[in-house]
């Protein structure tokens, strides 16, 4: 029967395909069907907010002619009565890769990295492909189309999900019957971007998120420059980018903080991206709201962890457990904030998962009308296609759903999904709903039968008393077949019955295990029991645990505020000429150090008795790699265009751990993969603030340079031998080349001549102009001397040598140049160039009058820089006061922050640490760490937090166990694997 129906459809469709007005028809007589179709008596959603009871939808030629309560129905009409049923506009998915061929993954031919582009005549980077048109790789996939239609979609937007600039996409109606001429609604529906490189090219650059960001910025700069006719050569990528300026841009960011990153790029170039989010927007909802961007939000809510093995529980972080708990709130919280967003099946394993996840979002408070808009009118508007799809107003495509009830109800069945006037049956609507409880008498015994599930996909449950009989049911075309088995005797009973149009009961024939046949009647006891109880439990709302700042373990319930505090009777290490003051008070007011002296009055400030304790300025780590999502842009030998400020990670637990070690400020340096690295981020470790809140106001500008084994790739394996430089000789020439070019660039710019805006050159020019400082990774004396000479040649000074393990050999020359030193206390022997590294280095350099700091380059060591500074006393006999300066005022001087922090002096920022003991002693613990007068670490509060974390973890474990018991899906436990960056981490 179904097959025959399909044949009819196929026949019809052939004639329609060839029914284009101006096409000749040699397959039959040319004739047109001018009939109307009217769907009547339905609850009609013309738009998500305009709902008509007993409405009529009149369509013709694949489009809506009229919709509403009173619609004039012409004579030549096929009427379909939908009494009791609902009509909705079909859904629109704005973000898929439907029908677009996936690019072939480029296999490594040699094992050499590839630095240059593979293509010719296009942009210099393979991952930038704005010229790619998805339509050229598009084949309509009717199998996939069916999956989408079954989930309620009538139109999908598609593109090739590959590369940083991905080219244009296609808006397609899921119309199997008509040809491309009808179903392709727009073959340039949008242009697409992401931070992910193409799999089709092995070109190294960019290796990092910050590199991808810089590349996108440069691409837009270059496009503008190209548009002005400045290029001598043809660049088809930039031409396409310029030609498509009016086409809406979609940006797959994929997470809350990447959303903000994408938006920032957009803002710089006046592009209002539609941003594809990550589902965790709720964790920084205010920031997301402030972007004012439009979003596409995936619904792949995390599954609960299977926590039944107590040994595996420890692997899950509280943050990941919370994500399971809180993520279903994302749509509600976004919509409460007025963020405009569409939904998508993107990230779901298959489109059919949409329903359950929307139900979940609704169970967690997301408004149903909003949900419907997010699937219809909103994606349509993002795609500039509101005049065609998303509603059932006159003139729109006849893309609509016929359902048994309200669309998002669990028990509702989608009967039909019409696309461009073509009917697609999902579940036959003529099937009678026979769900309910029955009593069947077979072979003299009576059985209880419960029928539930979808109308056409029933589930059966057969019992006699408390004994369950495994059963199977099949229901179609008004016939029902039910078989059930007695598990003990293995006897099988087979029944087949017809469903009468009116009667509540049904009856038929049963084949008994003996082979004998008899009549049976199923007598209906009660109705209801729609949907399986299991499905309902899946979307049950569980208790939501509160968010914290940041939303990970040890986050604060409220962002901490500054307090006026009087530290009484401490030993105060001023790191100033005043030295170490016994029995001294320090008053903190409005985030600043207000007074240092004896017997100060509190005047309303909270008093802390610091008798027997030591108060110091907060520790400053000149060389840190914590709190960053990437550290090295290793794709080029210079990467001045990248900035760590773009990739600050405010949720890194190492921020909190650093605070617990008395650290208040850090410089996050780029790594040492290339001679010219990237720009630094200098942070105050204000745990709980977002990335912007962590970065210093009016931050001094720094950039990382690097010398030696890392930049010449000595330890990258024997296959990596082609990038310039491979020797220390080459390193010098890299600098000279880049500074020559920067000089030329700057001169051109200053002269007002036209120039190609180059972010890399801009940064290098800042160095030449003394506006940006270099912190240079360095080991052996030859290279140290070399860089000073290069700098002198170009008329600037190197600010800091970091690591500088052979600084002691050229301390006199460094003094002469005027450079500072930031070094390890006692590291050596890990590679060839540290053979002569000695722990006396700091003391020797200090003895020659250099400003010397001790740094960490390590998330663990940074927590005890006080101990590392103390090694200056052991190795080389520094005074304790001088040793202490190496982790406070000296790094502040190196970072040009000494007017603000690094010592205890009236008027300076109240960045302070209260120690239990002499701060250089191995026995000392930080008890309180303050930044700008705000307590970010307190050893007592920490104890409470530990307790709270335990309790919250227990609560979440219990909730997850409940979910598993209720039949919810679970996944095996997974633990975070955080990368602890060092200079050499390539990422």
């Amino acid at each position: 029967m179904e097959k025959r129906f399909l044949w009819v459809l196929a026949f019809l469709s052939i004639s329609i395909v060839s029914a284009q007005e101006y096409f000749p028809n040699n397959g039959g007589l040319k004739q047109e069907n001018t009939n109307y179709t009217a769907l009547t008596n339905a609850t009609l959603y013309i738009t998500p907010t305009n709902v008509v009871k007993n409405g009529t939808l009149l369509i013709k030629d694949g489009k809506v002619v009229a919709s509403g309560k009173s619609v004039n129905i012409p004579k030549n009409v096929v009427k379909i009565d939908l009494d009791g049923m609902y009509i909705y506009p079909s859904f629109v998915d704005p973000y898929t890769d439907f029908g677009v061929e996936k690019p072939e993954r480029e296999r490594a031919r040699g094992r050499e990295p590839q630095y240059d582009a593979s293509r010719d005549g296009f942009y210099w980077n393979d991952h930038i492909m704005p010229e790619f048109e998805a339509i050229s790789a598009f084949t309509y996939d009717s199998k996939k189309a069916k999956e989408y239609r079954e989930a309620g979609f009538g139109t999908v937007n598609t593109h090739r999900m590959d590369g940083i600039a991905r080219g244009t996409g296609v808006l397609v109606a899921l119309n199997d019957e008509d040809g491309a001429g009808t179903r392709i609604i727009n073959d340039k529906s949008g242009q697409y971007y992401s931070f992910e490189k193409s799999v089709a090219s092995r070109q190294s650059y960019p290796t990092s998120l910050m590199g991808a960001m810089a590349l996108l910025r440069q691409m837009y700069h270059d496009a503008a420059w190209y548009a002005k006719g400045n290029s001598d050569t043809k660049d088809r990528s930039l031409e396409a980018l310029n030609a498509n300026k009016a086409v809406v841009s979609f940006f797959e960011a994929g997470s809350k903080d990447n959303n903000v990153r994408a938006d920032k790029i957009g803002d710089a170039f006046n592009i209002n991206y539609v941003i594809v989010g990550g589902g965790n927007e709720y964790e920084m909802i205010d920031k997301i709201q402030k972007t004012n961007a439009r979003y596409i939000i995936p619904l792949d809510f995390p599954e609960a962890f299977d926590v039944s093995d107590p040994y595996s529980q420890k692997y899950m972080s509280l943050a990941d457990m919370r994500d399971w708990n809180q993520a279903p709130m994302n749509p509600k919280w976004l919509s409460d904030k007025g963020v405009e967003f569409s939904l998508t099946t993107f990230k779901l394993k298959k489109p059919s998962e949409l329903k359950e996840n929307i139900q979940k979002a609704i169970a967690y408070g997301y408004n149903e009308t909003k949900a419907l808009q997010a699937l219809t009118t909103i994606p349509a508007s993002f795609l500039n296609a509101s005049d065609k799809i998303g509603t059932l107003q006159e003139g729109r495509y006849a893309n609509f759903l016929i359902t048994s009830g309200p669309i998002f109800n669990a028990e509702t069945t989608i009967y039909e999904n019409w696309v461009q006037g073509q009917k697609n049956i999902i579940n036959t609507k003529d099937l009678k709903d026979i769900r309910g409880n029955y009593k069947i008498t077979v072979g003299g015994k009576s059985y209880d039968v419960k029928l539930s599930g979808d109308i056409s996909k029933l589930k059966s449950d057969v019992k006699q008393g408390s004994t369950t009989y495994p059963s199977k049911i099949d229901y179609k075309d008004n016939w029902v077949s039910l078989s059930f088995t007695n598990e003990k005797t293995k006897e099988v009973f087979r029944t087949t019955g017809i469903i009468p149009k009116t009667d509540q009961n049904f009856y038929g024939r049963v084949v008994l295990p003996s082979g004998a046949e008899e009549e049976f009647t199923a007598v209906r006891q009660s109705g209801g029991a729609n949907g399986s109880s299991k499905d309902k439990d899946k979307v049950k709302k569980h208790e939501i645990v509160p968010l914290t700042y940041p939303n990970v373990g040890y986050g604060f319930e409220k962002i901490p505020q500054s307090q006026n505090i009087l530290f009484k009777n401490a030993t105060v290490w001023t790191s100033e000429e005043a030295g170490i003051l016994e029995n001294t008070d320090v008053l903190v007011k409005n985030g600043k150090i207000a007074a240092v002296g004896k017997d100060l009055k509190a005047g309303g400030a909270t008093t802390v008795d610091a008798t027997g304790k030591h108060l110091t300025a907060g520790i400053i780590d000149e060389h840190s790699h914590i709190a960053a999502l990437s550290i090295n842009e290793a794709g080029h030998n210079s990467s001045a265009e990248v900035s760590i400020e773009d990739v600050v990670d405010p949720e890194d637990i190492n921020i909190y751990r650093n605070l617990a070690g008395g650290v208040t400020s850090i410089q996050i340096l780029h790594g040492s993969a290339n001679p010219i690295g990237g720009r630094s981020a200098i942070l105050k470790l204000k745990w709980g603030e977002d990335a912007e809140g962590l970065i210093y106001d009016n931050s001094p500008k720094f950039i990382k340079f690097a010398l030696g084994e890392n930049v010449k790739q000595s330890n990258w394996g024997s296959n990596v031998r082609t990038r310039f430089p491979q020797t220390r000789m080459g390193v010098e020439q890299v600098y000279i080349n880049y500074f020559n070019r920067a000089k030329e660039y700057d001169a051109k710019k200053k002269a007002g001549k036209p120039y190609r805006y180059d972010e890399e050159m801009e940064v290098l020019a800042e160095i030449l102009n003394g506006e940006r400082f270099i912190s240079c990774h360095s080991y052996v004396q030859s290279e140290i001397n070399m860089l000073m000479k290069v700098a002198e040649q170009f008329g600037f000074k190197v600010n800091t040598f970091t690591h500088i393990l052979e600084g002691y050999k050229v301390a006199d020359k460094m003094k002469q140049h005027g450079v500072g030193a930031s070094t390890f206390s006692d590291w050596w022997a890990y590679k060839f160039e540290v053979n002569d590294a000695i722990p006396y280095n700091a003391a020797i350099m200090a003895s020659q009058g250099l400003v010397v700091a001790i740094n960490s380059d390590d998330a663990e060591m940074s927590r005890r820089l006080n101990q590392e500074a103390a090694k200056g006393v052991k190795y080389g006999g520094m005074s304790e006061e001088e040793a202490w300066k190496m982790v406070t005022i000296n790094p502040a001087k190196l970072l040009h922050l000494d007017d603000r922090t690094g010592s205890i002096k009236e008027g300076k920022d109240a960045d302070l640490v209260l120690w239990s003991d002499h701060p250089l002693s191995v026995y000392a613990k930080a008890e309180k760490t303050l930044i700008d007068g705000t307590t970010y670490f307190d050893i007592e509060t920490d104890k409470e937090m530990r307790q709270n974390i335990q309790e919250e973890r227990n609560k979440l474990v219990k909730l997850m166990l409940d979910e598993k018991e209720a039949g919810g899906n679970t996944r095996s436990p997974k633990g975070k694997d955080k990368i602890h960056f060092e200079c050499e981490t390539i990422h």
Binding site: S317, N654, R657, A811, A829, Y840, Q848, K874, S921
Partner: protein, 429 residues
């Protein structure tokens, strides 16, 4: 002023600059150290101590009742400690980590107990030499990698060659226990994160099978075809060798102890033990000592206490377990910080003498060299050092003398020589 200070330092040390690292000759004269606080290494200390060193041994230790003899070292106000012992390190097997040619710590193979560290131990390593000025005088040199990495030996750090250095040959076998969770190799395109290791049971079985085969081999007749790897295992069943099992998770530790003890291994030591505090009764019942990881480590997991690694040795020690400190997961050069690891643990509230015990007496006991080393007791080896102040605190760990088997060793190194050389350069200017 500063230059002046350095000139003094140069004058003091300048005269003693000689070809560093020449092993000291055998003790010939009796030496008595007088007046120092002697930290015995067993949890006690003796104020105003008198220690007599004779023929490489401690001939007497006490206070005023002991009569000084021979050369007297006045150490009033100073501190004497037993030589610190570094377990589970590859000291002398690798010189510069990044230089492959200098790396001899990890041989190819999963089960290679017959691979012996001692014969590759470089007695002239500059890294080993740098241990001594901080008081680290002895170490267990252990092969790395694989499942059974090989056999370690225990050496002292002042010798002409490995044979002279050895104080206990082939003392133990080192086994890296499999993990019940596996790290996704994201750099190879796998998903990042820790996931249950589906092969955990199988991995254990492989290890157990190897142990059983080795045991069966031992039960066989002599004269059968020799199998060196099985042969190397026999000491474990006889009790002459210890099995050092590297494991951190509670499940892994329980599995490791159960599976090895059940199959006839006599002495098991847990190395690592990040979660040992969760199963203290189990460890006590099985009489398992723990060589716990150094405190200078990040918590393993995001939600763990920031000071988990700081306080772990204290928790284990206070529970009554036999606990030593090691830093196997760190670079070899860091081992000179062994005294400061102990200091850091003391900073968490553990008695300082108990903290010291973890790098002296307890390590000696666990490694099975406590008959001669690890404590300042009469009859034991005169392996000890004198520090100006508290040796567990970096500010005051300043050695004036160090002795190994009564031989007064040089405290100079490649590094002190460079220091002096360049201070000399600057003093000329």
């Amino acid at each position: 002023m500063k230059n002046y200070i350095y000139t003094i330092i140069l004058l003091v040390f300048g005269g003693t600059v000689f070809a560093q690292q020449t092993p000291a000759p055998k003790q010939t004269e009796v030496i008595t150290i007088v007046g120092a606080t002697a930290h015995v290494g067993n949890g006690t200390y003796i104020e105003k101590s008198v220690i007599v060193l004779e023929d490489g041994k401690i001939a007497a230790i006490g206070t005023s009742e002991v009569t000084p003899r021979g050369r007297v070292i006045d150490a009033h106000g100073k501190h004497v400690y037993p030589g610190l012992i570094a377990p589970a390190k590859s000291l002398g097997l690798v010189e510069v980590n990044a230089v492959r040619a200098s790396n001899d710590q990890d041989e190819v193979g999963e089960f290679i107990p017959n691979v012996r560290s001692l014969i590759a131990y470089n007695a002239e390593s500059k890294v080993v030499e740098s241990m001594r000025p901080n008081g680290v005088l002895l170490g267990q040199v252990a092969p790395q990698g694989g499942t059974i990495s090989g056999t370690s030996s225990i050496v002292q750090f002042d010798a002409w060659n490995w044979e002279d250095a050895a104080i206990k040959v082939d003392d133990g076998i080192h086994l890296n226990w499999p993990n019940s969770f596996k790290r996704g190799r994201w750099w190879l395109g796998e998903e990042r994160g820790y996931k249950p290791n589906k092969d955990y049971a199988e991995d254990i079985q492989k290890t157990v099978d190897f142990i059983l085969s080795a045991k069966a081999y031992g039960n066989g007749k002599a004269g059968e075809q020799p199998n060196e790897s099985f042969k190397a295992m026999q000491g474990l069943f006889e009790g002459s060798k210890k099995l050092y099992i590297y494991a951190n998770g509670e499940k892994e530790i329980i599995d490791a102890v159960t599976n090895t003890k059940e199959n006839g291994v006599k002495h098991v030591v847990i190395v690592g033990g990040y979660e040992a505090h969760k199963i203290i009764p189990f460890l006590k019942k099985n009489n398992i000592p723990v060589l716990v990881q150094q405190p200078h480590a990040l918590p393993s997991r995001e939600d763990d206490d920031y000071d988990m690694a700081y306080k772990l040795p204290k928790i284990l020690s206070e529970s009554g377990l036999l606990v030593g400190l090691q830093n196997e997961s760190m670079s070899n050069f860091q081992t000179r910080n062994l005294p400061f690891y102990a200091g850091h643990v003391a900073g968490q509230g553990l008695d300082k003498e108990k903290a010291l015990q973890m790098v002296t007496g307890n390590n000696a006991k666990i490694l099975g060299i406590d008959d001669s080393y690890g404590t300042l007791e009469r009859g034991k080896s005169a392996t000890l050092f004198i520090s100006e102040g508290d040796a567990l605190d970096m500010r005051t760990n300043i050695l004036t003398h160090a002795f190994i088997d009564g031989r007064e060793i040089s405290l100079e190194t490649h590094q002190t020589e460079l220091w002096k050389r360049y201070m000399e350069k600057y003093s000329r200017e």
